[in-house]
């Protein structure tokens, strides 16, 4: 194992060096780095050109400059050399100063998209696999093909120029006409009846029920001015938390498991009590308080599972942990919604932002800044999400079908296990193995996709660093970006290999 890791690290470093050489030489010879100065009318033009040539070593050939650059990078890993040197941009800002801020901005964007794409994609893939060759399956397949064929900049421009604009316009006068209610109801009903499947009578009931319910809720939201002053309120909080508890028990343990009911019930109850009793604390919370509360919530959840315990203690702890985090999220969501109105007023009534990653010089507490991040990041996150969402759906669908076709699944069914535990406990885990590879390769694609998204939404992250740098043939920021991307990609590939060995005992790491 140790020798495997050591060998992999050595090979990875060599690959990284070789790839950086290719990148450096290509980027350095991609254009004329002095173009902007040569065209300028400034009286000290020649002095500026000379200064840039000198600081950037432009008099040397690209391969030689790469050697200098590599020497600077080497200082990052050699502790005595006195700190990193990734060169400077044309504005004489050290890349090491620019990178952390840019990375923070991009990480915020990419992590959400990454996690959501995995969770939603795998979830949808499994459902389509369970309803294979149904109307639902065909619909999802068609949509995922469509998403495969949709360039991310198209989605981003569309979201920015169409959705954001129209939603903001809608918020100015938030009133849904009857036609909109009808159409939404029909769409939701149609999707749900496809999802449920079965005989046409059942589908019809589901279609009518869910369609009418959706239309009624929307009508209520429209009439009560929910869109300008959104909130969940005590009733919705109780219903939603109870629903989450129910769903988790139903999926993870089955409805007959009494201890699972108790575990989930404890956490739902705690959340409801917290909702009624902790609002004063929320009002004076900072980001640190929220992190602290989140940790406590998770700890309480896991502890409640451990106390209820029983023969299946690990399962109870999982149920407790997942339930506590999700119901805690509902309570948090409600508190964020309470601040929406004042945020929307502060910002001038057009909350969904299309530019940047935060409103400049916006004060306010953690709730206001939280909503600010949300309104800025939701559209770029969606457009990033759609890049990889379709491939997760396809892969997990085919993976699930493959696993369901295995002999051990037939054995599990034959010995009388309920379908739920066949899928959740036997099939699901083995399906995840090949997904590990996909996740590893997907990280690179997502970080690359951030170039487009950040360019469309004018977010000053890593992609912007690359894009602006390349536009001016300013090699150092481009290489800083490359370094981060390549190291991340290599690290994730490495993790995927280790995960493979951990998940699948047949794979031996040598």
């Amino acid at each position: 194992m140790v020798s495997f890791i050591a060998r992999r690290v050595v090979v990875s470093v060599l690959i990284l060096i070789a790839a950086s050489f290719i990148m450096y030489v290509l980027a350095a010879s991609a254009g004329n780095p002095l173009q902007d100065l040569q065209g300028s009318l400034s009286p000290n033009r020649q002095a500026l050109i000379d200064a840039r040539v000198q600081t950037q070593h432009l008099d040397l050939a690209p391969p030689l400059r790469w050697v200098l650059w590599l020497g600077g990078v080497a200082k990052c890993v050699v502790p005595v050399a006195g700190g990193c040197d990734l060169g400077t941009t044309f504005q004489n800002q050290p890349v090491t100063d620019l990178l952390p801020q840019a990375m923070g901005s991009t990480l915020q964007l990419v992590t959400t998209a990454f996690v959501l794409a995995i969770v939603l994609g795998i979830g949808l893939g499994i459902v389509t696999a369970l309803r294979v060759y149904s109307g639902f399956d065909y619909t999802v397949t068609l949509i995922s093909f469509f998403l495969f064929s949709l360039p991310s900049f198209l989605v981003a421009v569309l979201l920015k120029s169409f959705i954001a604009l129209n939603y903001n316009n809608f918020l100015a006068n938030p009133h849904l006409p009857p036609l909109a209610l009808l159409v939404t109801g029909v769409i939701v009903g149609a999707i749900l009846q496809l999802l449920v499947g079965g005989p046409w009578r059942r589908r019809l009931y589901v279609f009518l029920g869910s369609g009418l319910f959706t239309a009624a809720i929307l009508w209520y939201m429209s009439v009560s001015g929910w869109f300008t002053r959104p909130s969940l309120g005590p009733v919705a909080v109780i219903v939603l938390t109870a629903g989450i508890g129910f769903a988790i028990v139903a999926v993870l343990a089955g409805l007959r498991n009494r201890r699972a009911w108790i575990t989930a019930g404890i956490n739902v109850l705690i959340a409801i009590i917290a909702y009624f009793s902790l609002q004063w604390l929320f009002n004076i919370s900072s980001a640190g308080t929220l992190v602290f509360l989140a940790v406590i919530t998770l700890a309480v959840g896991i502890a409640s599972g451990a106390i209820v315990g029983g023969p299946d203690r690990g399962l109870m702890m999982r149920i407790g942990g997942i339930t506590s985090v999700l119901v805690g999220g509902i309570v948090l969501l409600d508190r964020f919604m309470q601040s929406w109105y004042s945020y929307s007023n502060d910002i001038g009534g057009r909350p969904i932002a299309t530019v940047g990653s935060q409103t400049p010089s916006l004060g306010g507490n953690v709730w206001i800044t939280g909503i600010d991040s949300f309104t800025h990041l939701i559209l770029p996150t969606i457009s990033l999400l759609l890049i990889s969402f379709a491939s997760y759906t396809r892969y997990s669908r085919s993976g699930m079908l493959e696993v369901l076709n295995q002999d051990y699944v037939r054995t599990a069914r034959a010995k009388g296990l309920p379908e739920r535990s066949v899928i959740v406990r036997h099939a699901f885990r083995n399906m995840l193995i090949p997904i590990a590879t996909l996740i590893a390769t997907d990280v690179g694609a997502l970080l690359g996709g951030a170039i487009i998204t950040e360019s469309v939404f004018a977010i000053s992250g890593m992609g912007a660093l690359f894009n602006i740098g390349l536009g001016r043939t300013d090699v150092n920021p481009v290489m800083g970006y490359f370094l981060v991307i390549a190291i991340t990609a290599i690290a994730f590939n490495f993790l995927a290999d280790l995960a493979y060995a951990a998940l699948d005992p047949r794979v031996r790491v040598r």
Partner: protein, 348 residues
């Protein structure tokens, strides 16, 4: 020699035939013909192929190709006076003066879009050819010779695969400044071969252990002959399918790079460039966005569907769960139709 090479069906492929096809006179046909017939059965893919070809033919006939003029009277780079503020004139009654409207400087948007289609298609096909040829050569040599050749070639592949496609694409695109669409495509092709190389190598690693390769070697065939005349024809399915999917991602790559401004540049036209240079006019002239967007999605969707159909045609084993096919197989085997099909237990 010729007997080995001439035997059209390798066991692996022939085992993929379903009983239904074997029963309906599939015997004695060449592999290409069987694949072709299977592809034709997939209606979505056939329609996609027809639409794809139709779009290309339409765009070429409209504005011509190179020096040959087409039937459309406005050249794509000509500045025309703004008619009706550049609004599109396409209607049920005919094309009108500017069917897709005009851009801000008065160029005819129909001609620009057609030119964009031509360039995007050219780029995707050239990327496909370059990347496939390079990938096949690297993969075949690595998989056939194994040992240090394989190690070196695969490490080189790793080096290239570390860099995300869009990143190296943007850098290469900027380098190709002034080379035109073909130069851009050729350079992009030189950095997109890695996936195909890995797949072909995997295929070669298994195929080189087979008896027919052994037979060829015993008969004294050279390495080159074994690689290109014996093994390669058996790997053609993998190659065609993966290069089709590569072509589908190539159009997305090209449009993204042109959108960022590193690909094809004005006054020439590309679908991505059209969207990039007109996105600020979205609120006032949305049609400047919708036309190129429609054609990008249409082209990519068609190629994706064709690729999917080809995959099914070459490797029916992948579709293990086709209920209809399972039915057919069971009907042939058991002679009785299945009424309710759950999860098929029959592995084909």
């Amino acid at each position: 020699m010729s007997t080995v090479q001439g035997s059209p069906l390798e066991p692996k492929i022939s085992s993929g035939f379903d009983a239904a096809e074997r029963g309906s006179g599939g015997r004695g046909e060449s592999q290409g013909r069987i694949v072709f017939k299977r592809f034709l059965k997939n209606r979505v893919s056939v329609v996609a192929l027809v639409v794809y070809v139709a779009i290309i033919v339409f765009s070429i006939s409209a504005i011509g190709l190179g020096p040959i003029p087409g039937w459309w009277h406005y050249p794509y780079s000509q500045l025309n006076p703004q008619l009706n503020q550049g609004a599109p004139t396409l209607s049920a009654s005919g094309f009108g003066e500017h069917p897709f409207g005009q851009d801000r400087i008065g160029r005819d948007y129909f001609a620009l879009t057609m030119r964009g289609i031509q360039n995007s298609v050219l780029v995707m096909l050239v990327i496909g050819v370059f990347a496939t040829v390079l990938g096949v050569i690297v993969g075949a040599v690595a998989g056939y010779f194994r040992g240090w050749v394989d190690a070196v070639l695969m490490r080189i592949t790793d080096v290239f695969i570390v860099i995300p496609a869009l990143v190296i694409g943007a850098v290469v695109g900027k380098t190709s400044n002034g080379l035109g669409a073909f130069g851009l495509a050729a350079l992009l092709g030189l950095v997109s071969w890695m996936v195909i190389a890995r797949l072909v190598r995997g295929e070669f690693l298994t195929l080189r252990e087979r008896e027919f390769v052994e037979a060829a070697r015993v008969a004294g065939a050279s390495d080159g002959r074994i690689i290109f005349r014996h093994i390669l024809p058996n790997a053609v399915g993998v190659i065609i399918v993966s290069s089709t999917l590569l072509i589908a991602s190539a159009i997305l790559l090209e449009t993204a790079i042109s959108y960022l401004g590193y690909g094809i540049k004005s006054p020439d036209s590309s679908l991505g460039l059209l969207i990039g240079s007109n996105q600020s006019a979205f609120a006032t002239r949305p049609y400047l966005f919708w036309w190129p967007a429609t054609f990008i999605v249409l082209l990519a969707l068609c190629v994706n569907f064709v690729g999917d159909g080809l995959r099914d045609a070459f490797d029916p084993q992948q579709r293990r769960f086709s209920i209809r096919r399972t039915k057919e197989v069971d009907e042939v085997i058991a002679g009785q139709p299945l009424t309710e099909v759950g999860l098929p237990t029959e592995k084909d």
